[in-house]
Symmetry: C2
DNA sequence: CGGCCATGAGTTACCGATACCAGAAATACG
DNA sequence: CGTATTTCTGGTATCGGTAACTCATGGCCG
């Protein structure tokens, strides 16, 4: 920057102003600085800038898994909004572990990020402590937490699972199976289970533990869950797959075996993969606002960072049931 | 840090050493510093550290689209390796535009990243110029470029497309259709087209322009390509879908119409989505080393950054043909 | 016409770490 | 036992910007 200043015959301070707040500098000087910047090939050092102003334009994001396409649209939404506002995105992957999440959060705070977005909603005490002390604004994404760290942007996993279960009940299904990921380690699965049971109660259907399964994620896992449930003495007439690609695995397994859906068993899914609508038969599913979650998360975070708001926001985004031929 | 130094009764210099290179400090002092760090809740400022040492542990990654699950495993591979080595990942999304890529690169250089990974292999002149001047090491990923900026880690799109086309020819198919993304804007598609034609020639099959289609990405797009090719006067007996989820869309369309595969037409895919193996019938595809590309990219980049190598590496990773019932 | 304020540019002091050099203490060695 | 080395620790300058303040200029007002 010193070179630029010398070449433009001004002080470094003026160069700094010409670049960050051009309105404060006369057009003449502005032009000279711009020319010098080009001539020197000057690339500002944001590290120094952030250090000096103690303001950074970096947002840290922690997702359980980068590879999982469910999170991809949320990340895309965040990235879109941040880019429009000239901010950068740092991503870390917790591998579904709270300890790894804590490490990622620490690394982000060391980089002095301007804000954090966390997909998970349960954290280690140390992580919570660090965040509180740092005063960095945070958005949580996974589910509508009753006591958020700061801000939340999500839909209600509980309500969504309940709505779909009730939908099945209204269609006349009486033995509705429920397959989800392991609830002990996953707040989202927990919420969905509770929603499922709430719906059963509301519909006046008995809860049968034999109809509720927890599986690891994956296509094969969905197929296995299907077979296990259908092999039992009193098989379900509908199954609600509330996790990852489980429903897809199950649907494809039915196709392989030639089982009529919903003739033999109805299938409903939680996630709105495009693909579910293209299977034969197309699968009834919930449409979740994944992209919107990303966008809104970035927006509320930026609002806070730029001082346009201070209240701890909680955004409840709407889901939708897409009824298709599988139920 | 000053607080920590005071509390541990040492200079800031010693605190710095105790944290970055503990071996250089006596065990006694090391313990006092550690204790003080805990007591104060000290979080080091990497911004200041990087500025001072002109070394950062941040890697910048530019992908065409974050949402596209094809890139997700590569990102995962990068993230895994970086985390193991205590580095951070910044991601930007170019939306398949060279100008946006240039902007992302500029932003990364302003943050003084230690290295860059670019998925695309064609860049604006300004971007190339900036990178060269900065001296930051770069890995390109999209395809094996003849004249890389610096390092390349990829498989050969040309060879892969050629291998699959030859595979189809050897199976006895004579009119092999080819569907890819728009080649004018995508070096990968271009390489694949060339590979396809090279294979036809090698197999002694005529090239029929009517059998070659360019489509936008997407499930629906694949279905449409299928119908267009099959509706023609001389339909193909096999179609090789060399882009995104095109093959999946086509396969599902066949299922919907009840067309036997490969009875009516054989289908082969380029991308190794899990799902392709679970469709009915399972689809023949190429197995591409996506995760490995990410890992190796991060590894060669770190090697360079840590001075363990200096040569411009070019890593050619192997692909594999997964033969399934669809051909 | 004097005083006041808005505008544009410069000066100086940091931001919070590390590099580099130097000095003190501890250890080694002939 | 004196000197040569190593090991540990501290002082100071500096990385490349920005905040906060100062100062000169010029237009506007009563």
């Amino acid at each position: 920057m010193r070179d630029v200043a010398r070449m433009a015959q001004v002080s470094t301070m003026t160069v700094s102003r010409a670049l960050t707040d051009p309105a404060k500098v006369s057009p003449d000087v502005r032009a000279r600085v711009a020319e010098a910047v080009r001539a020197v090939g000057y690339v500002p050092n944001k590290l120094a800038g952030s250090l000096s102003s103690s303001r950074s334009r970096i947002i840290g994001l922690v997702v359980p898994s980068i590879e999982n396409s469910l999170f991809a649209s949320t990340v895309q939404g965040i990235s879109d909004v941040l880019r429009r506002h000239g901010h950068q995105l740092m991503i870390a992957d917790s591998g579904y572990s709270m300890e790894a999440e804590e490490a990622a959060i620490r690394a982000f705070l060391e980089q002095r990020v301007a804000g954090l977005i966390l997909h998970d909603t349960t954290h280690t005490p140390a992580a919570v402590e660090m965040i509180k002390r740092s005063g960095v604004p945070v958005v949580e994404n996974g589910t509508l937490v009753p006591e958020p760290l700061d801000m939340v942007v999500s839909y209600s996993n509980h309500d969504a699972a309940k709505a779909m279960t009730l939908h099945l009940a209204r269609l006349g299904y009486r033995r509705i199976g429920f397959v989800s990921l392991h609830a002990a380690t996953n707040a989202r699965s927990r919420d969905r289970q509770v929603g499922y049971r709430a719906a059963l109660e509301e519909a006046g259907l008995p809860f049968d533990p034999a109809l509720m399964l927890e599986m690891p994620p994956g296509l094969a896992s969905g197929a296995e869950a299907l077979l296990r449930l259908m092999d039992s003495a009193a098989p379900p007439d509908a199954i609600f797959f509330a996790g990852d690609v489980l429903a897809m695995g199950a649907s494809l397994e039915c196709a392989r075996r030639g089982w009529p859906v919903p003739g033999k068993v109805a299938i409903a899914a939680f996630d709105n993969f495009d693909l579910l609508g293209h299977l034969v038969p197309p699968v009834t599913t919930l449409k979740l606002p994944r992209l919107e979650i990303g966008r809104r998360s970035a927006e509320v975070l930026l609002d806070r960072i730029q001082g346009r708001s201070s209240a701890p926001v909680s955004v409840d985004l709407r889901f939708e049931i897409i009824h298709r031929a599988s139920t």
